[in-house]
Symmetry: C2
Subunit: 603 residues, 2 copies
C-alpha cells in the first residue's frame, strides 16, 4: 500500500541528493541530528501514513462530520490517528526543545507530512493547523499564553484553528466585523461570526485554541477601517485557568457545517463568537487574550498563513502524487487494446502503459507532482536557511527568496497537482469516475487547494503587485542568480544543454515582460492579467527546478530506472510544458485588454 | 431560475441569426414547420427544464439510485419529469411521422435538449439514450422490431440503453466476450457481462430495450476475433409478444451499481446476460433478436454512437453553460474588495465582477461554453443538411464534414466545458466548493464527458488516425473551404481583420503540421502525440466558429450588450486561447518523442 501513497525514493532523492538536507546537521540549531535520525523519523511518518491514516481515508469521504444541533460527530479513526501521531512526538517535531519539541528541520517535517497528506488529507489537516497555530504563538505571544496553550498543543491534547474569514469578508480581511471589547482584567470579549473554520468544532481533542482576527472598537464604538485596525486573539473553546485546568465552555458556538466537495475528513464550519448561548446575556462574549500588540493582527497571522501556504502547496503536491501512483499502478496492470503494428486481433491485449498516449498522461503527472514536491521542499529548505544559516546576509536572502516564491509554492502545486489528479481519473477511464476507486476522491480533495489560504487570483496579485518589487527587487535578483547557476551547471552536459538554453531564453523573456509591466504607472492595467503572470512565472520556476534535479541526477552518475525517469520527466517538462509560456506572456506585453475593457453588462 | 440554466437569447442567436435554421423549413422534410413552431417547441423544452427537471437536480445528486439486492430505487421525480417530457411529445420530436414523431430538425431538438441537460443532466440521459436507441432501430432493424420496440419508445413507455463495454473490454470492443447463440426460432440467447450501462435497470418505464453488442460463436464454439465478428441484438428487459404485450422477465439481471463521482441521477450498472437467475438452468440465456445483418453490429452501433457523441458534446457545453451563468450571477451580486485606485478602506466593497481577474474567468467561461454550444449546434445543423439537402453532393459533403468534426464535437466541449465549470467554482471561492451551492455538482457531472462514448485519447486517434484521411481528405478540404469563406467575410471588417489573419495563419500552420504527420510511414510515431493534435485542431475549429459568430453579429448591425458580449468573447478567444496552439503543434512536427521513448519501468 505504501507504494501508492508517495515515493520514498523520490523523497530521499529530493531531500538528500538534491537539497543536501544532511548539511543542515552541521548547524548549531540541528546539533545532534544526522541523516540517520532523519531517515528514522521519515520511517515513522511513512508507517503512520500506511497504518493509521490511509485506512480511514475513504471512510472520511463517505462518512463526513455530522452536526446534530448539539455536537459534531467525527469518525473515531481521525482522533486515533492523531493521537498516534502525537504520541510519536510528531506534533512537536518542528518545535523548539523548550516546549518539548525535536527541533526537526522544516524540510524533513514537511516531507514527513507529505506522506500523511497523501494518505489522508482530511485527518492530517488538524495536525497541520495545530502546529502552525503553535508556531505563531511561540513567535508572537506572551509567555503566559505559550505556557497555557502551546504546551498542550505540542502534546496533541489541544488543537488549533485560524479564524480569519467572515461570511461577508472572504478574501477581503479589511472588511471583517468581529469586535474585541477590552475587559477590566486585560482580556477581551469577542463578538462576531467566522466562516470556513477548519477544525472549528469537534471532540477529538480536550480543547481547541482559536486564533481570531478581530477589531478593537474605538471609543465611539465604531470599528477602525482597513487592515491596520486588525488585532489577533487567542480564544479557547473551553477556558483554561492559570494552572492549565480546563474550565467552562467559552462563548463560541458552532452555527453550521459546510458540506464540501471533498476534504470531508476535516470539519469546516461557521462559528459564532459572543452569541451568549452558553451563558446569561450580560455575560456574553467569547473571552480571549490578545496576541502581541493591537493592530498587528494581520502581520502576525501572516506568520501562520505563510506556513499554511507552503503546507497547501505541499498537500496539493502530495494529493497529486498519490493520484499519479494510483494511475501508474492501474496502467501497469490493466490491459486494453493492442499496438498499431499488431495485426492479429486474437493476440493478447497489452497493458495500458504500453500506449504512448497513456505514457504521455503519466509523464505529465510525474512532471507536475514531482516538480511540485520539489518546489515545496525547496521552499521548506529556504525556510530552514532563513532560520539557521550562520551569516545574516544568507538568512536575509533566504527569507527574501522564500517570500518571492511563496505565491508560487501555494498556487503552482494547487493548479498542476489538481491537473495530475484529473489525468489520473482519465487513465482509469470509467473506473476512475467511480467511488469504488480512489482517484476521484483525490481530485475532489485537491480542488480545495486553489481556493483556501488565498485564491489563485490573490496569489497572482501578491506576486506581481507586491513580491517582485519587494526590497527593490532583491528577491527577483536572487532568483536570477540561482537560475543562472543551474544553467551554468547544465550547459556543458550534452543532453541538458538544450534545456539550459531554453530556460535561459524563458527567464530573460520573463524578466523583460516583468520590466515592461513594472514600467506601467496604472496599477489597474499592470495587474489586470496578473493571473497569466503567475502561470508563466510558476512554469519557469518549475522548469528551473526540473533542470536542477536533472543536474543532480547526472552528478550522482547513476543510470537506473529512477534516474531515467527523472530525465524523462525533465524532458517532458521542457518539451511539452515550457512552450506554454508564450501564450501567457503574450497577454502581458502589451497588456491584452479584453478582460479589462469588458463591461459587466456584456457578459 | 431559467436565466441560470441557459441563455435563450444565445440559443436563438445561434439557431436563427447564425445557423439560419429557419431556412430548413423550406425543405420537404420539414414542410409545415417554421420558426414560430420551432420557437414554441423550444418554449416547451425551456419550461420543462425549469419546472420538471431543475427542481430535483440536487436531489438526484444527494439521493443516488439504490440497489437493495432485488430492485433499483430511483427518485420518483425522475420518472415524473420523463413522463412530462414524453407527454409533451418530445421523446418522438425528432422521429419520423410513421412512428408518431414530429420530424423536428436535429438542431432544434438538440437546442431543446441543451436546456434539459443544463437543468438536470442525470434525468435527461434516459431520454437521450432512448431516442438514440430508437433512431438506430428505425435505421437498421426489421419492421417487426421497429413495431415492437420503437413505437413504445416514441411514446416514452419503453426506455433504451446501449450495451457495449464489458468489464475486461472498455475501449477495446474487439475483445468483447458476450455470446449470442442462435435458436431454432431465429432468435438468439445471449450470455455475458456488460459494464457501464446507463439506464440499465430501473422501474420508471414499462420496459427497457437493451441494444447489445455480442459475438455469434463459430461451429466449434469459439468466438470470432476482432470487430468483424460483432453483431447487434435487441434484448428487452421483459419479453414482448407479437401483439406488443409484456411477458416474463428476460434473463438479464443487474449485478451491481457503479457509484459515480457525479451524474448520479442516471443509474449506471453492470448487467449479467444469461446468468439464468430468473429461470431453470436449461432455459438460461437472454432472449434477443438480431438487428440487421450478422457481423455488422459495430457499424450499426456507430449510428447510435455518433449521435451519442454529439449529445455528449452538447451536454458538456450545457453543463458548462449553466455553471457560467451561476458564476456570472454570483459575481454580479457578491461584493468583495475594492478597486486598486480606491484609497478609502471605509468605502463600500465592489461586486466581484468589477475585478478584472474575475471578468477574465467569466470571459474564459463564456468563450468555452458558448463556443462549445455553437460547435455542437453547427454539427447538428450539418446532420440536418446531410439528411435534407436537395442535392446529393451537398448531403455527402455535409456527412463528410460532420464525420471529420465528430471527434472534436465530442471532446472539445467535454474538455473546455469542464474547464468552465472549474472556473465557476473558483469564482464562487469557498462557497463554490460546498454542496450548498450548485457549481461543484456541475463540475462532477461534467467530469464524465471526457470519458464515456470514447475517451479523449480515443477521439484523438479517431481524428488523426482515421478522419483526416477519410475519402482522401475530402472532409479536411471542405473544412478548409468553410474556414476560408469566414476569413473572407471577416477580413474587410476592421475589428475582425486581425482575427481573420490570425485564423488564416493558424489554419495554414495546422495544415502544414497535418501534412508532415501524414507523411510519416510509422503509424506508432504518427499517432504518438495525437492528443496534442486533437487539442490544436479543436482550438482552431472553435476560433473559426467564434470569428464566424462575430461576423454574424456584425451583419445583424446591432450594438447592444449581447452583441458586445459576443465580440468580447471572440476577442478573448483570439487573444488568450488561440496562442496556445503553438505549444500543441510544437510537439507534432517534429514529433516530440519523450512519451514514445519512455520505458514503462522508468515511470
Amino acid at each position: 500500500m505504501s507504494h501508492l501513497i508517495l515515493s520514498r525514493r523520490d523523497i530521499d532523492f529530493l531531500l538528500f541528493d538534491w537539497l543536501r538536507a544532511d548539511a543542515l546537521a552541521e548547524r548549531p540549531q540541528f546539533a545532534g541530528h544526522d541523516r540517520d535520525t532523519w531517515s528514522a523519523i521519515l520511517d515513522v511518518y511513512e508507517k503512520l501514513a500506511v497504518e493509521r491514516f490511509a485506512p480511514h481515508n475513504k471512510k472520511n469521504d463517505s462518512h463526513e462530520p455530522h452536526f446534530d444541533g448539539e455536537r459534531v460527530s467525527i469518525n473515531v479513526e481521525v482522533g486515533e490517528a492523531l493521537r498516534a501521531f502525537s504520541t510519536a512526538g510528531l506534533m512537536a517535531a518542528g518545535m523548539p526543545a523548550e516546549v518539548g519539541g525535536l527541533g526537526l528541520p522544516g524540510c524533513i517535517e514537511r516531507a514527513g507530512f507529505a506522506f500523511l497528506t497523501a494518505a489522508n488529507a482530511g485527518s492530517v489537516a488538524y495536525a497541520m493547523l495545530t502546529i502552525a497555530n503553535a508556531n505563531l504563538l511561540i513567535a508572537h505571544a506572551s509567555p503566559g499564553i505559550v505556557a497555557r496553550y502551546v504546551q498542550p498543543m505540542a502534546e496533541g491534547r489541544y488543537f488549533g484553528t485560524m479564524c480569519l474569514s467572515e461570511p461577508q469578508a472572504g478574501s477581503s480581511l479589511a472588511d471583517i466585523r468581529t469586535r474585541a471589547v477590552p475587559q477590566q482584567d486585560g482580556r477581551y470579549r469577542l463578538f462576531g461570526n467566522k466562516m470556513w473554520i477548519s477544525g472549528g468544532d469537534h471532540d477529538i481533542s480536550e480543547n481547541i485554541v482559536h486564533l481570531v482576527l478581530a477589531k478593537i472598537p474605538r471609543e465611539d464604538g465604531s470599528l477602525p477601517a482597513g487592515v491596520q485596525g486588525i488585532s489577533l486573539f487567542a480564544v479557547p473553546r473551553r477556558l483554561v485557568d492559570h494552572e492549565g485546568r480546563l474550565g467552562e465552555r467559552n462563548d463560541v458556538v458552532l452555527a453550521g457545517l459546510n458540506h464540501k466537495m471533498g476534504y470531508r475528513g476535516t470539519v469546516n464550519c461557521l462559528l459564532n463568537f459572543g452569541e451568549g448561548r452558553h451563558r446569561p446575556e450580560a455575560d456574553a462574549g467569547a473571552i480571549g487574550e490578545i496576541v502581541g500588540e493591537p493592530g498587528q493582527g494581520l502581520a502576525y497571522m501572516f506568520h501562520m498563513m505563510n506556513e499554511a501556504r507552503i503546507a497547501v502547496g505541499l498537500g496539493a503536491a502530495a494529493l497529486g502524487y498519490t493520484g499519479y501512483l494510483h494511475a501508474l499502478d492501474y496502467a501497469r496492470t490493466r490491459t486494453q487494446g493492442r499496438r498499431r503494428s499488431e495485426r492479429d486481433p486474437a493476440s493478447p491485449p497489452i497493458a495500458l502503459v504500453e500506449h504512448a498516449d497513456v505514457r504521455r498522461m503519466l509523464l505529465a503527472q510525474k512532471a507536475y507532482v514531482s516538480g511540485a514536491l520539489a518546489l515545496c521542499l525547496y521552499a521548506a529548505r529556504l525556510s530552514d536557511d532563513a532560520h539557521s544559516l550562520p551569516d545574516e546576509t544568507g538568512r536575509r536572502d533566504s527569507h527574501l527568496l522564500l517570500d518571492l516564491l511563496t505565491p508560487i509554492v501555494k498556487s503552482w502545486p494547487s493548479q498542476w497537482g489538481l491537473a495530475a489528479n484529473d489525468l489520473a481519473i482519465q487513465i482509469h477511464g470509467g473506473y476512475g469516475y467511480t467511488r469504488e476507486y480512489n482517484v476521484e476522491q483525490h481530485y475532489r480533495d485537491n480542488r480545495l487547494n486553489p481556493i483556501h489560504e488565498g485564491t489563485f487570483g490573490i496569489q497572482a496579485l501578491d506576486l506581481l503587485g507586491r513580491k517582485i518589487g519587494q526590497a527593490k527587487g532583491a528577491g527577483l535578483e536572487l532568483l536570477s542568480g540561482r537560475i543562472a547557476a543551474t544553467i551554468e551547471r547544465a550547459r556543458p552536459q550534452a543532453p541538458l544543454a538544450r534545456h539550459a538554453a531554453a530556460l535561459d531564453a524563458a527567464w530573460h523573456r520573463l524578466r523583460s515582460v516583468t520590466a515592461s509591466l513594472q514600467s506601467l504607472a496604472d496599477a489597474e492595467l499592470r495587474l489586470a492579467n496578473a493571473a497569466a503572470y503567475l502561470e508563466a512565472f510558476g512554469h519557469v520556476v518549475v522548469a528551473w527546478l526540473w533542470l536542477d534535479q536533472a543536474v543532480a541526477v547526472n552528478a550522482a552518475n547513476t543510470d537506473d530506472d529512477f534516474a531515467r525517469g527523472k530525465r524523462a520527466a525533465c524532458d517532458y517538462f521542457f518539451g511539452w510544458e515550457l512552450p506554454k509560456l508564450e501564450a501567457w506572456l503574450g497577454v502581458l506585453h502589451p497588456v491584452e485588454r479584453t478582460p479589462l475593457d469588458t463591461d459587466a453588462r456584456w457578459l
